[in-house]
Structure formats: structure tokens, C-alpha cells
């Protein structure tokens, strides 16, 4: 299990000003979990700085993005819980 310095949880769409702020703050040793409107990032060309990108499945499915997860790992709430404990700290954007 690779170490996660910070788990960033982003539920804002790419258009929201806080989304860019969040993405600018993510470091390679962090993980990014997209929930709610945040999963829309998958349908843009934006590439987060970290390779550890996770997306919450129910939100992906709700928005019809099942086929577009790309390199992001689709997870459920169980994994969201373990990610939050695995990371040294969590920032809910």
C-alpha cells in the first residue's frame, strides 16, 4: 500500500473556482478522490498531478460516466473510508 500524504476530496465540478484551487494544491504523493460533481473532471482533458486518482462509483454512474474513468480507480464508500484512514490527513474541498 503506497503512502498517501493527503487525501483531497473534491465534490465541485471543474467549473467551480474551488476545483482549480484544489487541483493546484494536490502533490504527487497525495491522493485525489472525486465525489459528487467532482467526477465530471473525468470528462475533461485536465490531468491531476498525482497518479492516485479515485472516483466514487455511484456518482460516476449517476452522471453516465462509467465508460470514461480512464486511469482513475472507481471505488465505493468502503474504499473511501479506508482511503481516509490510509492518508495522513484529509482535506474536504
Amino acid at each position: 500500500m503506497t503512502a498517501i500524504h493527503t487525501l483531497h476530496i473534491l465534490n465541485k465540478s471543474p467549473e467551480h473556482p474551488r476545483a482549480s484551487r484544489c487541483l493546484a494544491t494536490v502533490s504527487p504523493e497525495d491522493a485525489l478522490l472525486l465525489t459528487g460533481n467532482g467526477v465530471l473532471l473525468l470528462s475533461t482533458q485536465k490531468k491531476p498531478v498525482t497518479h492516485k486518482v479515485f472516483v466514487l462509483s455511484p456518482d460516476v454512474d449517476a452522471r453516465g460516466l462509467g465508460g470514461m474513468t480512464g486511469n482513475a480507480e472507481a471505488v465505493g464508500f468502503a474504499e473511501m473510508v479506508s482511503l481516509s484512514l490510509q492518508a495522513q490527513r484529509v482535506i474536504s474541498w
Partner: protein
Amino acid sequence: MSTLIMIDQPPYGAWTGREALDMAFSLAAFDQPATLLFAGAGVNWLRPSQEAGGVGQKSVEKNLSAAPIFGIEAILADRAACITYGLNESSLLKGVTLVDADAALLKDFDHTAFAG
């Protein structure tokens, strides 16, 4: 446990900024280290001479000036956002420190939170 309370929404149009200030002041009241960071449109909270009576609200200028007395460790403002909104060191409220609100800054805090 040091906490950074971030405010990125401007004053008067929404209440999250006030709610963030309440969070910071509560932490200070419990002797928990708290720092305020104004970023994005949130830097507009730091513009002096806000006369909010006409919109039925109170200006937070007094609260912010009193922040150090209440135990808030620092009031930070993102440099780039200040430039965007035409605020420079001399036009900001007193006691505000300009910073680059980046990953390095956030790493200094155990806990970063927004009010909404």
C-alpha cells in the same frame, strides 16, 4: 493540532465566510491553534471601509482586527488573489500577511477546513 480555515467566497453575498470566522474563533476559544486564509474572491473580506448597514449586515472589520486578541494565530491572504481584486499590502486591513496559498502552505497545517 493546527488548523487552517480557508475562506474563498466574498462577503455579504453568502454566509460561509461568517461561518468560517465563527469556526476559527471557536478554535481559538478552546486554545486550539487556528489561522485564517483568505483566497480567491474571499480576499474581498479584507477590503477596508466596508459599510454593510445598507444591506442589513454587519461588517467583519472589527472581528478581524480583534482576531489576534482572541487568539487567532495569523490572518493570511493569497497574493495572486489580492492582485486579481486590486488589493495590495497598503490597501488591505492591518494585520494581514500576504502568502502564496499553495501546497507548501497547506502542508504546514494538520487540518484544513472550509465552512461550506
